[in-house]
Amino acid sequence: MRSVVLTKGVPDFREGKVSFDEDGHLERGKTPTVMNPNDKVALRAALQTKVRHGGTVSLTSMGPPGYKEILVEGMRDVYADDLYLFSDREMGAADTWATAMTIATGIEHMDEEPDLVFAGFKTADGETGHTGPQTNWCLNINENFSDYPLITHVIAIDVDEDEETVRVKRLVEGDLSEIETVEADLPAFIVTDPEFEASYRKAEHRLRYKDLREETTARAEDAEDDVTVWNHEDLNLDPDFIGLDGSPTIVSGVDPIEKGEGARDATELTPEDDDAMEQVFDEMVGFAGGD
């Protein structure tokens, strides 16, 4: 099984890591960049395939040269056999359409067609959830390339190597939440849901998992020099169709979320103040359970 995984670097949004300027705008320069958490989920799905069926896992990203570190982070924290970065000034400031165009062309440029392409759900910065599906669409429009059925919101995957099929469970939320079982032929394009869990039921899988994890962590030490970097010329990409110039959309304004005016004048108290606490109890008691 040959898997290709899409990832992106995003600001580290965990509390204490994010930095804002005086106007409340996010300071990208001062906030560390990490691998998009949802993409780690996708990478874990690819690792599960490798553990169960062997093969290779290629991790790809589009971004500035510094994103090599993001790829290495993926190799170290989850798994990867090799790393690809699509990097070029012409690719900058791309929206999802132009990003999908670049990534799909990058995948097509690899030596071998993948059996499975994995993408995560939303990125923590753009949060569109579009890049996976649009990359699938871009791959499918290329007539020299296989048509990949798209399966999104995947929470569990089983590949049948002999039948060359994949069977997944997908979680769909609407007014009602539903779980679907979906089957498709390989090759296929999988977008994992944040709720995806890798599953290693057999002892041999758990052992192989452990070995692969140790091996990839060690390999990641000096992997940064081995990242394959392709620019738009390598990929034969017309600059009018990638980056800012190829993007249908632009961002016209970024505003900090307005701080609501604190309209309330709180009664301040401490737990030692029994009378005041009594007032608080009074507010609650009307909602008490009856039994």
């Binding site: 600001p11 949004f13 965990r14 929206d95 999908a100 165009m101 923590a124 910065d125 949060e127 569109t128 959830g129 579009h130 599906p133 649009q134 669409w137 871009c138 429009i141 290329n142 059925p149 798209l150 979680l171 769909v172 939320e173 609407g174 009602l176 939440s177 539903e178 679907e180 079982t181 979906v182 498709a184 944040p194 010329e233 034969n236 017309d238 009018d240 249908p248 959309t249 632009i250 961002v251 016209s252 970024v254 505003d255 900090p256 979320i257 604190g262 309330r264 709180a266 301040e268 108290l269 606490m277 007032q279 109890f281 507010e283 609650m284 909602f287 008490a288 359970g289 009856g290 039994d291």
Partner: protein
């Protein structure tokens, strides 16, 4: 006496009559007659809104004398739209700078100045089209070869199309919300721009795809559609990416229907549900256009753009008409971005696409008297579109819905000292209420705490309150160990009574609280639980003795 007495007419006849009256005093008298007579709420609304419209017209401000500090930024935007005199505009800009000096207000005025002065440049050279072979001779132009770039220019676009998602044979709520919003946007646009290029009002077109969806067409009309196009097939009973995408694109671009005399829709609106978001990405990709996902508002106005990717020439500004403005929270709920989908020279980006967060717009009342057209879309669906097969499906117990509860007990990173115990104490308090549930701040979910197995199931995004989670307004909200970042407070600020517990004497949440207990939640929560159990008991005893 006014022109006529509304109580003598049926509601259906009154709309045009009332809108024909231009005298506010007359209308006031009619309102009184109606109130004293039939007192029908829809009639009163009709008259009142007519009065409002007339008064708004009267209030037209004189840009040369108006006191800018009295106007909101939106008022200023509306006002400057009609000003063509650069001197007046520059004077306005100066007065704003001397007064409140609001960045937004200045941008509006500056944009208008650019629009007015930039008008001369329109005669300047059009950006010349250079074929990619000449522009980039070293490349072999895969993008142009592949069919996926439609790259049309100067085509015709009209109408707002709305993809109406269904589940179990019914329109889901967000479909109704979108239709009502689309109705309002298109009506406003028709007023503002006088309809399409030929002066005909543009329409709201609802798209229904599935098995047995024709029956929903009337409902879609009642919620605001002028026209419903539907495609039925039993293989479409459940959402499938490929056939749904192909059908919708065919309806919008390739369908040869006599009423659809334009290249593609002007706008495409989708629900930001799991399936709706996927469909939006695929349809907009295939139509060679762009979109913004998870929008929290939509509005249409002209946009002054200086981005050379769109104008073709650095340094130029160009005004684009009827641009759908799509504000959306991003950066994990830390910021709002406004996204625009804009044509570039020699390549149109239409339809302008958006998906909207369910619940963003109000769930409307249907209007059974509305009329519209219903069209069946009937093409053969090739077997190879059905690349995936849904072999089984189950409806889950409805996820965690924190809205509608009497009480929400919300926990923040104050539980960090012992996260498992923190959750336990929160759950104990939840249990002591009649109708309560547990909420969490985003901080708890992203903190990578190690939780004991029995409470782990409670720590999911489903319970997150705030910008990227649920917004709740319960009668009672208890915030324990929550600092009160804006991302959180937008999700709870409408709660009726807020009790906060925080060790910090001055956490931001204080401004959103009615009671602020400065103390340790590990100590305070059990006390509240205990008091409630006793109080509840006392109340129960009281009630029993009353009987």
């Amino acid at each position: 006496m006014p022109e006529f007495d509304p109580t003598e007419f049926e509601i259906a006849d009154l709309g045009p009559k009332i809108n024909g009256v231009d005298d506010v005093d007359d209308l006031q008298e009619m309102l009184e007659l109606e109130e004293d007579g039939e007192d029908r709420p829809p009639v009163k609304t009709l008259i009142e809104s007519r009065i409002e419209d007339l008064e708004a017209d009267d209030e037209e401000v004189d840009p040369e004398t108006v006191d800018l500090t009295d106007l909101t930024i939106a008022d200023i935007a509306n006002m400057v739209r009609d000003v063509d005199d650069v001197d007046v505009l520059e004077d306005l800009l100066e007065r704003e700078e001397m007064g409140k000096d609001r960045k937004g207000a200045k941008t509006q005025i500056e944009n208008r100045i650019e629009a007015v002065t930039g008008g001369d440049d329109e005669d300047a050279e059009e950006v010349e089209y250079v074929p990619p072979e000449e522009k980039y001779p070293d490349l072999s132009h895969p993008t142009a070869d592949k069919q996926y770039v439609e790259a049309v220019s100067g085509e015709t676009y009209r109408d707002m199309w709305v993809y109406c998602e269904t589940q179990h044979g019914e329109l889901i709520d967000v479909s109704k919300e979108m239709l009502a919003k689309a109705r309002q946007l298109v009506d406003d646009c028709n007023d503002e721009y006088g309809g399409d290029e030929d002066g005909n009002p543009e329409d709201v077109v609802a798209v229904l795809i599935g098995d047995d969806v024709a029956d929903l067409a009337e409902e879609a009309i009642a919620y605001g559609a002028d026209r419903v196009v539907y495609h039925e097939d039993e293989r479409l009973a459940r959402f499938r990416h490929k056939p749904y995408t192909e059908i919708m694109c065919h309806m919008e671009r390739d369908w040869d229907a006599d009423w659809r005399d334009y290249h593609e829709p002007r706008y495409n609106i989708f629900p930001a549900t799991d399936n709706g978001r996927d469909l939006s990405a695929l349809v907009q990709g295939e139509l060679d256009s762009g979109l913004a996902s998870d929008c929290s508002d939509l509005y249409i106005e002209n946009a002054m753009i200086s981005n050379p990717a769109k104008t073709g020439t650095p340094g130029d500004s160009k005004e684009f008409e009827r641009i759908l403005h799509m504000p959306r929270p991003d950066f994990s709920g830390f910021e709002y971005s406004t996204i625009l989908c804009i044509d570039k020279p020699h390549r149109d980006f239409h339809p302008q696409g958006a998906s909207v967060i369910p619940g963003t717009f109000e769930l409307p009342e249907p209007d059974g008297d509305r009329e519209g057209e219903v069209e069946e879309h009937d093409i053969d669906l090739p077997e190879d579109w059905f690349m995936t097969e849904v072999t089984d499906h189950d409806t889950l117990d409805s996820g965690v819905d924190l809205t509608g509860r009497d009480v929400i007990v919300a926990l923040g990173r104050g539980i960090g000292r012992d996260p498992t115990e923190g959750i336990e104490l929160g759950l104990d308090l939840v249990d002591a209420f009649e109708d309560a549930d547990l909420g969490l701040s985003r901080g708890v979910i992203t903190a990578s705490y190690q939780f004991g197995g029995h409470v782990e199931q409670y720590v999911t995004e489903e319970r997150q309150i705030g910008e990227s989670g649920q917004e709740v307004e319960p009668p009672l909200y208890i915030a324990a160990g929550i600092s009160g970042a804006v991302q959180h407070t937008v999700g709870m600020e409408d709660a009726e009574t807020v009790i906060s517990i925080n060790t910090d004497a001055d956490a931001d949440i204080k401004d959103y609280s009615d009671y602020y207990i400065q103390g340790d939640l590990f100590e305070v929560l059990p006390r509240l639980t205990e008091a409630l159990e006793q109080g509840g008991l006392a109340a129960a005893v009281q009630e029993a003795s009353d009987d």
